[in-house]
Symmetry: C2
Subunit: 430 residues, 2 copies
Amino acid sequence: MKSSIKIGQLGCGIVGSAAVRMLHANADDIARRLGVNVGYHSIAVRNIGKERDLPEGYAAMLTTDPAAVVNDPEVDVIVEVMGGIEPTRTLLLDAIANGKSIVTANKELLATLGQELFDAADRAGVDIYYEAAVGGGIPLIRPLKEGLAGERITRFMGIVNGTTNYILTLMDEDGLDFGEALALAEQLGYTELDPTADIEGFDAAAKAAILASIAFNTRVVAGDVYREGISKLRADDIAFAKRLGYTVKLLAIAEDMGDEIAVRVHPAMVPLEHPLASVRENLNAVFVEGERVGELMFYGRGAGGGPTGTSIVGDVLTVARNLVTGGRGPGCTCTLTKKVRSIDANEAQHYLLLEVADEPGVLAAVATAFSDNAVSIKSVWQEGHGNDAQLVLITHRARESAFQDTLKAVRALKGVREVASVLRVEGSEA
Amino acid sequence: MKSSIKIGQLGCGIVGSAAVRMLHANADDIARRLGVNVGYHSIAVRNIGKERDLPEGYAAMLTTDPAAVVNDPEVDVIVEVMGGIEPTRTLLLDAIANGKSIVTANKELLATLGQELFDAADRAGVDIYYEAAVGGGIPLIRPLKEGLAGERITRFMGIVNGTTNYILTLMDEDGLDFGEALALAEQLGYTELDPTADIEGFDAAAKAAILASIAFNTRVVAGDVYREGISKLRADDIAFAKRLGYTVKLLAIAEDMGDEIAVRVHPAMVPLEHPLASVRENLNAVFVEGERVGELMFYGRGAGGGPTGTSIVGDVLTVARNLVTGGRGPGCTCTLTKKVRSIDANEAQHYLLLEVADEPGVLAAVATAFSDNAVSIKSVWQEGHGNDAQLVLITHRARESAFQDTLKAVRALKGVREVASVLRVEGSEA
């Protein structure tokens, strides 16, 4: 039995230094609970001279040689917060081959090459924990993987990107358009230097892939996830949504259809009474439905040093306990191989905003285009502005391909000046 | 290494039979994931002849001798869903002494004699898991105990009793008074035969004790928890709460004050914008605040066979994995001994509804009684009805003892006919 557990960390930015401070501050309590000391041994960084908020004595652990950390026989656990695909992948594979367990926050790597890492870990008999990779401080991965291990999860819908949720909150509550809201979010420090990964849904898609892999026990990679971002949303859409009793959220949605699964990320109108509708600002939440457990929701801070550091420390302590007791976590749970269904086969309700001529026959022509394609209209709302009018429609659930055919037909209509917006509606019709 | 894991179950009511069905249905999947079979061996019940929804073949496992189950060397894990203190306690202690791990839903036993069981389990080196004891299907115990192991939780507020939340939802949304709402809840099957444990807050107090023990790493028993139920709530209170921007919930609240902790269960006004305010019907949710992780909320179905059975099966699979790998769960985490503070030292905002004479000087006298006791008034609202009036006050945060002195002074005032209601206000002022 080990008398102490030593951590080697790759990276030491906001999240990494928060984890260091937290483990340092709780060292006595942790030792009391686990019966062994858990502490840092070495920390690999790119630039040793950079200002960091670390407790006294930790500066001496810094090194610019990550390979030395993963190959150090003294190190038991690797905490990976450097991000990116390479050289991170190679370093982690080396660490695993050296018998070290891994705690990582790297959603990008897990959502693309996760299988390779999990296979290597299974061969080496070590743990990979990654609670910090999705939902920051929200306990989510382990509840899905362990607490709900015996349940058949049928569906989840999540707000998993804080930046876009902050932008959408500004659009909803202050009536800003997308550009104004993005500028304000940038000013307030809620965005990355390059906001593309957030606003175009790449970040959410990686998280959707990770969650779907766990929920449905089948490997999903980021590239499998259908993806639309929020940059085309108009202030009008949000205003109409509000009037109709909805709010707009960027959702990561996944469904188990038996032999196939569906995974997608796109903005959607959500009924105001749905628990996800009240998730404001940069908070995250994942709404989960299971065959027996019914509905669950996990809510909290999806980013930031404190929340994400908390998840990392929780994982480190579990790995440490496994090392002490000789146990091991669940490992890879992707025992099935289900196909990811094409978006064309998806069924959803849709919202449409059409700019039309305010003259007789337009509504009839639009309605005919819908019925010709067997897409049923749930509600309609027309509002005139001089010679022009806005026509808002919400459909019943229809297959994506039928809906796209309808759209094509509507665009070709003489009285329709523009299909200004199209949005899926989620969380109401079953 | 074991080639199969055998379960002995004590009790087989709604939750117990749901767990049996779920493990039976997922047997293949579980074997694939764990590498061993996990199945039932024997099930002790009071009445073998009772109608039960069990898969074919399970009737033969039923026995009326629970001692035989806990002493059977073939049995690896005991699932306890019989409830109550004795003979359950003795049976579980025997099972632990025989080296069997325990999965239990028994909040009453854990909240009174938990320490004895955990000590015995630590001595025997076996696991006790109890996700099903609080919050039914919501993963809550293990996220607090494991995922947040490195975090200092400062406070939680939870809706942990579905029956009372259902009654309060009826009062709020349909304007029913308590008696009408209780009668309707009884009609709809949302209550126990004797509803006292629910409506007087005993059930919530047991759950508060269990959660506080985990959150603050110090043993709290049900008897430590200050407790008020919802039976004295009036339709007027709920209506006033609504007008003032609040809803009324029965809350289990606990706070870490450093050397001491506070734990209490009582109805409280919660601002409508608080995430707990939108938890409707018989749903449960626990809102958690931590020093670094910020705010978290766990939401879902707090009762019923499916949800509670899901938590039991999740625990069984973790115990099974520990048996396979030779690992062990975290065991008792109550490494500290903090005192539970008296309710007199509590600080809270209060709502008061006074029936007063509609004549000059009454408001002045009431306001003086408050200022004499250094309790500051945040808002006041008076409404006349002929010679009488209703006076509604909300205070700023004040110490319970000062508030009680104020109440005494107000009751003695000539113009005050009755202090009709007093409610704490939670979730707004820090």
